[in-house]
C-alpha cells in the first residue's frame, strides 16, 4: 500500500491585516491553511508578538515580570522605547489600565495624551487597549483613536456592550479593531456581524475569542480558536476570517502557578522559570490553534516563542 499524503484544499483564507506604518509595518494572517500547515498551502506572514506595556506602573504584575522593566516602567514612553530599541519588539500593546474607575480613573484626555506621547517615541505598530471596563473603554478608546489618527493602530477591545462607539472611532481614524467575545464561537461570529453591519470593513478586524491561561481553561480557548479557524477555511465563512488575537500575558501572570514561591510549592520548581514557561507554553498552544497576534509580557518568554516560530515556518 503506497503512502499518499492526504493534503487538504481549503476553500477559505484568513484576511491579511496590515498594521502600523512605514518600514516597520507588519501583516497579520493571510494564510489559506491551518496554523503552520505550510506543507499544503501558503503562509505569507509569521505571527506577531506585541510587548505589553501600560500607562501606570505595573505594580499589579508579579515581581518576576516587573523586574525586566523596573528601570523604565514608571513612564510609558520610556517603557515603549525600551521594548522597541532594547528588546527589538515588533509591536507594542499599550494597555490604558489607569483609566479604570477602580484604578486611577484617568480621563480620556489624559489617556489620549499618553497614546500621543508613546506614538511619537516609537515606529513599530501599536495596539491600544482599554482597561476592560466596557462603559469607560468607550470614551477612552474614542479619545485614543483620535490621538492616534492615521497611525494604523489596532484599538480594542470592542465588546457587545460597547462596540458601537468604538467601531465608529476606529473607522473615523483609520484603525484596525479588536472584537472580543467570551469563549463562544457563535458570540464571536455574531459580534463580527454586528460590527460589519455598521459599515466597518470585515478585513480590518482582529478576533479575540478570549484568552485563558494554561491550566485555567486553556482548552476552551484552544478549541474555540480551532473551530473558528476551521469555519473560516473549510466552510469559507466570511465572518470568521479575521486573524485572531491571544492576549496571553494578562491571563497568565495572575494565576497561582506564575507566582507562587518555590518555598511554598517545592514540587513546582523555580518560580521565575515556571512563570516564563507558563506564559510561553500558553502562547505556543494558542499559536497552533490559530492565533496570529500575541500580547505577552516577559521578554524571555517572548524570545523563546519567537525562536519556536522560526522553527515552525
Amino acid at each position: 500500500m503506497a503512502f499518499v499524503a492526504s493534503k487538504e484544499t481549503y476553500s477559505g483564507k484568513v484576511y491579511q491585516v496590515n498594521i502600523g506604518t512605514g518600514a516597520n509595518a507588519a501583516n497579520l494572517g493571510g494564510e489559506n491553511v491551518l496554523p503552520f500547515h505550510s506543507f499544503e498551502g501558503t503562509v505569507p506572514n509569521k505571527p506577531v508578538i506585541a510587548y505589553e506595556i501600560q500607562d501606570v506602573p505595573p505594580t499589579d504584575w508579579p515581581e518576576n515580570v516587573q523586574k525586566p522593566y523596573s528601570s523604565v516602567s514608571g513612564d510609558p514612553v520610556a517603557w515603549a522605547k525600551f521594548c522597541q530599541d532594547n528588546l527589538k519588539a515588533k509591536a507594542i500593546a499599550l494597555r490604558l489600565l489607569g483609566t479604570h474607575p477602580d484604578r486611577e480613573n484617568r480621563s480620556p484626555e489624559v489617556a489620549a495624551k499618553t497614546v500621543k506621547d508613546v506614538l511619537s517615541a516609537i515606529n513599530v505598530p501599536l495596539i491600544i487597549l482599554g482597561s476592560n471596563h466596557a462603559e469607560k473603554d468607550a470614551p477612552v478608546l474614542v479619545a485614543a483613536a483620535e490621538a492616534a489618527k492615521d497611525r494604523n493602530c489596532i484599538i480594542g477591545k470592542a465588546q457587545e456592550a460597547n462596540y458601537k462607539t468604538i467601531v465608529a472611532a476606529a473607522m473615523a481614524n483609520n484603525h484596525k479593531l479588536i472584537a472580543m467575545s467570551e469563549l463562544d464561537i457563535n458570540l464571536s461570529k455574531q459580534l463580527n456581524i454586528l460590527i460589519t453591519q455598521m459599515g466597518f470593513d470585515k478585513e480590518r478586524l482582529v478576533t479575540d475569542p478570549m484568552c485563558s491561561a494554561l491550566g485555567y481553561g486553556l482548552e476552551y480557548t484552544y478549541s474555540v480558536m480551532e473551530r473558528i479557524r476551521l469555519a473560516a477555511l473549510t466552510q469559507n465563512d466570511l465572518t470568521m476570517q479575521p486573524p485572531m488575537l491571544a492576549d496571553v500575558g494578562m491571563y497568565v501572570w495572575k494565576i497561582k502557578e506564575a507566582q507562587a514561591p518555590e518555598s511554598e510549592m517545592p514540587l513546582w520548581g523555580n518560580t521565575e522559570e515556571r512563570g516564563i514557561a507558563w506564559e510561553a507554553t500558553t502562547a505556543t498552544a494558542l499559536l497552533v490553534s490559530g492565533a496570529e497576534l500575541l500580547i505577552m509580557r516577559h521578554p524571555r518568554a517572548i524570545e523563546a516563542v519567537e525562536k519556536l516560530i522560526e522553527e515552525l515556518v
Binding site: 500500500m1 503512502f3 499524503a5 492526504s6 491550566g215 478549541s223 473551530r227 497561582k256 520548581g269 505556543t284
Partner: protein
C-alpha cells in the same frame, strides 16, 4: 474507515434470528456501526464477515501498552484530528533521555528525578512516564551498563532502549524481559534483525525513517516479519516537521484508515535550550505525539507539560468539575467573607483567581451543580435557594465563622430573598455580576 450500518448488514446472515438480542440483523448492524455491540454476539456469522468487520473495526491508531504494571502507559486508539470532535483518548507519555555516556552518578540522579517527578493536579497523579536510554557512546558495554542501572533503580518505570546496533539492543533488552519496553532504532538497514529481537522479547519496536513514504514501507515490511506493535518516527526534528509529519500521519490513519501509519508516534525534542525544548514538546503534545523524549526534566518544566497534556486530553463534552466544598483563599479568619459559586472548573478558577488577586482572605463555597456555570446552573434549577441553603447548612461552616453573611453572584441577585427565607438568621449580600468585579468589591468591604 469504519463501515456504515448498511455495509455491515450485508455481511450478516440476515436471518433475523434474534440470538444476538436485537430484533433484526439490521438493528444489530446499526449497533455495531455505533460500536455499541460486538460481533461475537452473533453465533452464525461467517469467517469472511469476521475478517472484513474485524479489519474495519480495528481502531485507526493501533492500541499498544507500553511498560507493565502500575506505571504502564496506554498509547494509540485515537480517532480524530481535533479535540472538539471527540476526546483525545490516551495522553502522551513523557520520557527523559539518559545517555550512556553519562557517569553512574549522573544517571542515578536522572533516575531519581524521574522517580520523584510525581505531582498531583486537579486530582490526577502525573509523572514523567518513562526513561529513554540512548546509545550515544556507540559502545555495547556502556549501553548495557546504563540499562542495568536503570533496570535496578527504576524497575517499574517503562523504558525506551534507543540504539541502531543490534548487538547492543540484544544485550540490553534482556534486562527488561516481560516489561514491554520500546526498542527504538529499527531502520531500513537493520530492520530484519531488530524485528527479530522485538519479536523474541515481545518488545514494541520503534521504527524510524526519513519521511512518510519510507516510513510506511518500513512498517509494512516489519509487520510482514511478524511484529505488530510499533511506534513510529518520520525523522522529525524541527518543530515544523513534527507538526507537519504528525498531522499527515494522524490524517492518513484516521481519515484514510491507512494501516502502515496507524501506529502511535514517538518524537525526540531534545534541545540545548531547555525552554525552547519545552515549547517544541508543547507542539508534540498538541499535535498527536504519543511518546515525547526530553533531555531534561526540571520541576517547573514538568508541571507545565503535565498541565498542557491534561488540558489537551480533557473530554470536551464533559464540563470539568471541581470538588464541592468550602475553599479557603489566603488564611481566612472567622470574620472573613463567605462567597458562593458553582463547581464548573472554569468558574471556580476565575472566581478563586480574582478573590486571590483581591488579597482579602476569604472563604469560597463551591457547590456541586454538575459542572455548570452560575447562570446555566440557575436556569437548570441546580443553583436554587433551597439547594444553596441546604449546602450551607450541611457544610457546617457556621461553626468556623463569626458572622452569618453569604455573598452570592450578582447574576442570581433574584435569589437573595428566598435564600434568606430558607437560611434562618443569615443575611444575603449580592456580589458583582462578573468575577473581575470581585477585587474592588472585596477591597471596598475590607476598607
Amino acid at each position: 474507515m469504519a463501515l456504515s450500518g448498511v455495509e455491515i448488514f450485508k455481511l450478516l446472515p440476515k436471518t433475523n434470528c434474534k440470538k444476538c438480542g436485537h430484533p433484526t440483523c439490521l438493528a444489530f448492524a446499526m449497533k455495531l456501526a455505533q460500536r455499541q455491540a460486538t460481533l461475537d454476539a452473533c453465533p452464525d456469522v461467517s469467517d469472511e464477515a469476521k475478517r472484513v468487520l474485524g479489519e474495519a473495526s480495528a481502531p485507526p491508531v493501533r492500541p499498544i501498552t507500553f511498560g507493565s504494571g502500575d506505571k504502564a502507559v496506554k498509547m494509540g486508539e485515537e480517532t480524530v484530528l481535533f479535540r472538539h470532535e471527540k476526546k483525545f483518548v490516551n495522553p502522551c507519555a513523557f520520557a527523559v533521555e539518559v545517555k550512556d555516556t553519562l557517569s553512574e552518578s549522573e544517571i542515578t540522579k536522572k533516575i531519581e528525578d524521574v522517580l520523584a517527578s510525581e505531582i498531583d493536579r486537579v486530582g490526577q497523579k502525573l509523572r514523567i512516564d518513562a526513561i529513554a536510554i540512548t546509545n550515544a557512546s556507540g559502545d555495547k558495554g556502556k549501553f548495557e551498563a546504563a540499562a542495568k542501572l536503570v533496570s535496578s533503580k527504576a524497575p517499574n518505570t517503562p523504558v525506551i532502549l534507543s540504539t541502531t546496533d543490534t548487538a547492543a539492543a540484544e544485550a540490553a533488552i534482556k534486562l527488561f524481559s516481560g516489561k514491554r519496553p520500546i526498542l527504538y532504532g529499527a531502520n531500513s538497514s537493520n530492520a530484519d534483525a531488530m524485528a527479530n529481537i522485538a519479536k523474541t522479547e515481545k518488545a514494541i519496536l520503534g521504527v524510524t525513517a526519513h519521511g512518510l513514504e519510507d516510513l510506511s514501507n518500513l512498517t509494512e515490511k516489519i509487520k510482514a516479519l511478524g511484529v505488530e506493535d510499533m511506534v513510529i518516527d518520520a525523522g522529525s526534528v524541527k518543530a515544523k516537521d513534527i507538526l507537519g509529519n504528525n498531522t499527515l500521519i494522524r490524517r492518513a490513519a484516521t481519515k484514510k484508515n491507512f494501516k502502515p501509519l496507524g501506529y502511535p508516534v514517538i518524537n525526540f525534542v531534545q534541545r540545548d535550550d531547555t525552554l525552547l525544548e519545552l515549547l517544541v514538546a508543547g507542539i508534540a503534545v498538541t499535535k498527536y505525539s504519543s511518546v515525547i523524549v526530553l533531555s531534561s526534566i526540571e520541576k517547573w518544566k514538568n508541571l507545565v507539560l503535565f498541565t498542557l497534556r491534561q488540558n489537551i486530553y480533557t473530554d470536551p463534552q464533559v464540563p470539568m468539575q471541581v470538588e464541592q466544598k468550602i475553599y479557603n483563599i489566603g488564611e481566612p479568619k472567622p470574620e472573613s467573607p463567605l462567597m458562593i459559586t458553582t463547581n464548573f472548573s472554569l468558574t471556580y478558577f476565575i472566581v478563586s483567581g480574582e478573590v486571590e488577586n483581591s488579597k482579602v482572605p476569604s472563604r469560597l463555597a463551591v457547590m456541586d451543580c454538575e459542572g455548570l456555570s452560575v447562570l446555566t446552573a440557575w436556569a437548570a434549577g441546580k443553583f436554587t435557594a433551597t439547594k444553596i441553603a441546604q449546602f450551607i447548612t450541611e457544610s457546617g461552616i457556621e461553626k468556623d465563622i463569626s458572622h452569618k453573611e453569604l455573598i452570592i453572584p450578582g447574576y442570581v441577585a433574584i435569589l437573595s430573598g428566598s435564600i434568606e427565607d430558607k437560611l434562618e438568621g443569615w443575611k444575603v449580600t449580592v456580589g458583582p455580576r462578573e468575577a473581575n468585579g470581585l477585587p474592588a468589591f472585596l477591597k471596598a468591604r475590607a476598607a
